[in-house]
């Protein structure tokens, strides 16, 4: 009997800015040359502007998801790629894309967003999937953290993102489509090295998972680029 071609595995990157654009830079070649066939789903409702060149990796101005999907399609022809040039929301209202249609059971999810409300929404959705790996990253100017949430066969293998983090359990910020132009213009500055460190630690977590060497007792890693240190922390399920 001829072997049946399995469905491609899916990696979803939500947010293609300071962290997500760097995650993609390394993830795309890695997946393209992997043994398995992969499909990449790239999600972002924002556009690349000239000012983003100080710390984000992209070739052209325009809708982030479309620009990066075109780049992947040009450079990595073994990868299938889907662009979702909309922000995610719980219900798909107001020209947003429903999270349930973007993230499915079996996915590896890189949450590279810039607000806790979206992080919580993605975490809540993943907590209802049978199998999922959610790798979430965030940074301030020179420090930050990454968190890994794993579910297998309907069972949590690590603690949920919000368990130790009240700022995620009850986020006080807004999703990008809820933010006014004035609020966007007032956003705080970021450092490319902090974005890169978060991206690298997220990819390290992905690689450890793929190698079946994840330490589920330590699903959170803090970093500080001035101290040049990263520290994994114990989190009980």
């Amino acid at each position: 009997m001829a072997p049946v071609n399995p469905q491609p595995r899916r990696a979803v990157i939500v947010g293609l800015g300071g962290i997500g654009s760097w995650v993609l830079q390394a993830l795309a070649p890695f997946l393209n040359f992997a043994q398995e066939t992969w499909s990449l789903v790239l999600v972002d409702g924002d556009e690349y502007e000239e000012k983003n060149r100080t710390r984000q990796a992209f070739e052209e101005l325009g809708p982030k998801a479309d620009i990066q999907s075109a780049w992947v399609a040009r450079k990595f022809q073994r990868l299938r790629v889907q662009a979702i040039a909309q922000y995610l929301s719980a219900d798909g209202a107001e020209d947003t894309y429903p999270v349930r249609d973007a993230i499915r059971s079996g996915d590896i999810v890189f949450s590279c967003v810039d607000n806790h409300k979206t992080r919580r929404m993605i975490s809540d959705h993943c907590a209802h999937l049978r199998d999922v790996v959610l790798i979430s990253g965030g940074n301030e100017y020179t420090d930050g953290n990454i968190q890994v949430f794993v579910r297998m066969a309907g069972e949590d293998k690590t603690c949920r993102l919000e368990k130790y983090h009240p700022e995620l359990a009850e986020p006080r910020d807004k999703m990008p489509f809820e933010v006014s132009c004035e609020e966007l213009a007032a956003s705080s500055p970021q450092l490319i090295f902090a974005n890169l460190t978060a991206a690298t630690l997220m990819l390290n977590a992905f690689y450890a998972h793929e190698q079946k060497k994840s330490d589920w007792q330590k699903p959170e890693v803090y970093f500080d680029i001035v101290a040049n240190t990263a520290a994994p922390r114990v989190r009980n399920r």
Partner: protein
């Protein structure tokens, strides 16, 4: 000895017998502890800031997640 953690920072000191609140005050500057940070002892959340620490305990003030991306 009690190990105290905040983000990437950590130190071990003779703090057995002190309360969580004592340690928060003593090390707030040294470890850059946010006054709102949740305290865990040996991985368990400690809503009572007057909990007394024992030798061998690990006290973590959980640093908030990074916001930006």
């Amino acid at each position: 000895m009690v190990k105290v953690i905040n983000g990437v920072n950590e130190l071990s000191a003779e703090l057995a017998g002190k309360t969580v609140n004592n340690v928060r005050g003593m090390l707030a500057q040294a470890l850059n502890i946010d006054p709102a940070a949740v305290a865990n002892i040996n991985g368990q959340a400690q809503p009572d800031c007057n909990t007394v620490l024992s030798d061998g305990d690990e006290l973590e003030f959980v640093k908030a997640s990074g916001t930006k991306g």
